[in-house]
Symmetry: C2
Subunit: 84 residues, 2 copies
């Protein structure tokens, strides 16, 4: 595995896993006052498009990473809508 | 341009631009109580690795998209650290 590929996996890990602590915090506290609705609406749509792009272009890592991020981002978005 | 490429650009646009409304909201309200420090620490590091990956692999769109996201995510992270 090349250094570039390793850095790519580290990047994918960081930006994917980062939404887990936010999702946990939001579920536990239900405090969404500082969270932007527009961010999560746009971001959730973006990850859905990444998922479709990953499947259409045959890039399984892109598809898998974005399924995970989509789930976390959707949870945060739903909490933001419910607990305004 | 193929449908797959167009979906890829829509995906990149959504996940990049989404951090702008969050950065604006955080700057204006200074309300970071609902924002996860761990998320932004991990996410900012992740975008930095994406930027390095983009430069090393010669993918300019990946590099450019992640410079933008890195700036927005860094602003949110700094505000989260200052206004705990």
């Amino acid at each position: 595995m090349t250094t570039t590929t390793i850095i790519g996996y580290m990047a994918a890990f960081g930006t994917t896993v980062s939404f887990l602590p936010q999702a946990i915090k939001t579920i536990q506290t239900k405090n969404t006052s500082g969270i932007s609705l527009y961010m999560y609406a746009l971001f959730t749509a973006g990850t859905l498009f990444w998922l479709i792009y990953g499947l259409m272009s045959g890039s399984l890592p892109v598809a898998i990473a974005n399924v995970i991020t989509f789930v976390f981002a959707s949870i945060i978005l739903v909490y933001k809508i419910i607990y305004k």
